[in-house]
Symmetry: C2
Subunit: 232 residues, 2 copies
């Protein structure tokens, strides 16, 4: 005996807050909608979830269709399911956030025609966004603010080799305040999760900084014990 599933015409979607870091500025990827509702408005990139795909997969597809990138750091953020969040009916959306290393090679272009354009925009002065996307963005920023101090997600925004100042710039951009250079360096180096390279920055017109890599192996050791919050 089987009880059939109830039949609802329900729709769910994924929306992605895709963070990038460029010229010392934290940005997210926005699209300009080409379809109603909110035609010509800015919005977070998103897709309807096919009934034959997992939601994580749908989020990865959103990212891939826009940037051509795969295997990006991406996490589920929150699910937004208020009745009135979509003007044309009931749409529940699962929001994700992703961190990507920007480089000149990455070209963003909408793959389908639901979006006219796609572009990076600084988080500091975002325009109005369609639906509840401003709220989704705010929640994603809070999330990475918390997370950045617990877990080494800052590295995901940088090239493989980076200087300590670049790393500090990522922290400052996300936390939105200045940090003390000496203390920052001391702390980062003490964690023991950076590997110093014997390579220096090139092409700068001042003293070249030492390059570092993130050492995933050491990280696993160091940060698993950090799970104890009340420490003792």
């Amino acid at each position: 005996m089987q009880t059939p599933l109830p039949k609802f015409d329900s729709v769910f979607s994924v929306d992605c807050v895709i963070f990038g870091f460029e010229e010392g500025v934290l940005k997210i990827l926005l699209i300009e909608r080409n379809e109603p509702p909110f035609k010509d408005c800015y919005a977070l990139p998103g897709l309807f979830v096919g009934h034959d795909e997992g939601i994580d997969y749908a989020a990865e597809r959103t990212l891939y269709e826009l940037t051509g990138l795969r295997d990006i750091y991406m996490e589920q953020l929150y699910t937004f399911g208020d009745l009135d969040r979509h003007p044309e009916g009931r749409v529940i959306t699962v929001a994700y956030y992703a961190l990507i290393r920007l480089s000149s090679k990455i070209e963003v272009r909408p793959h389908s025609n639901y979006a006219k354009t796609a572009f990076w925009h600084p988080v500091a002065d975002l325009p109005q966004l369609a639906f509840d996307h401003t709220l989704i963005f705010q929640k994603s920023l809070e999330k990475i603010r918390r997370k950045i101090s617990d877990q080494p997600i800052a590295f995901e925004l940088l090239p493989e080799k980076f200087t300590l100042t670049q790393l500090q710039n990522v922290y400052e951009a996300i936390l939105n305040r200045k940090l003390d250079k000496r203390n920052f360096r001391k702390k980062m180096l003490n964690y023991g999760i950076l590997k110093e390279l014997d390579e220096k920055q090139r092409g700068v017109s001042y003293r070249a900084a030492t390059l570092y890599k993130f050492d995933r192996r050491k990280y696993a050791k160091v940060f698993q014990k950090e799970l104890s919050f009340i420490k003792e």
Copy 2:
């Protein structure tokens, strides 16, 4: 011009991990299913989300129908949307967790007949659960472990007036390890979010402990600054 929403036969549900604390033991509320699939198996309480209700509301309804309680501490946990998580089709579920004060007045009884029984079960030795509910439970436990040290959710599990030892017991049950009594008290009192009452425990056959209340007003002040994780 309107683009109609795509029509999928999609189903979503909510599932709730409802924590309670009784006799020094952390428990969750389980039901015994009365319908296939997984008939006669244990599961987390859950409901299909009506197409005319918000998801938060659906979660509150789940809790209310089972316990008669409203206005309970409840937060969204995570959304589970793998293709194969439900044997009869595509069901995306939004998981919530709740913390409730147990008291003899609370009677749990299933309101609909999808469940035969409902009962509290210690988290330490849960039976096998239907669907991916074991995974959902594990994720909820991790979540409250992290959260308990950041935010005063422990109080939600205790009566309004409680002793420091009872509070410590909640921490120990959730974190699953012993804490030092003197350090625990020092730290809790230093936060300044407890109000000492001039009332003592009653009906115990040993020295009666002082009762405390959680002071929500002071909390708001103290913990908003804790949002800075890299402190300086």
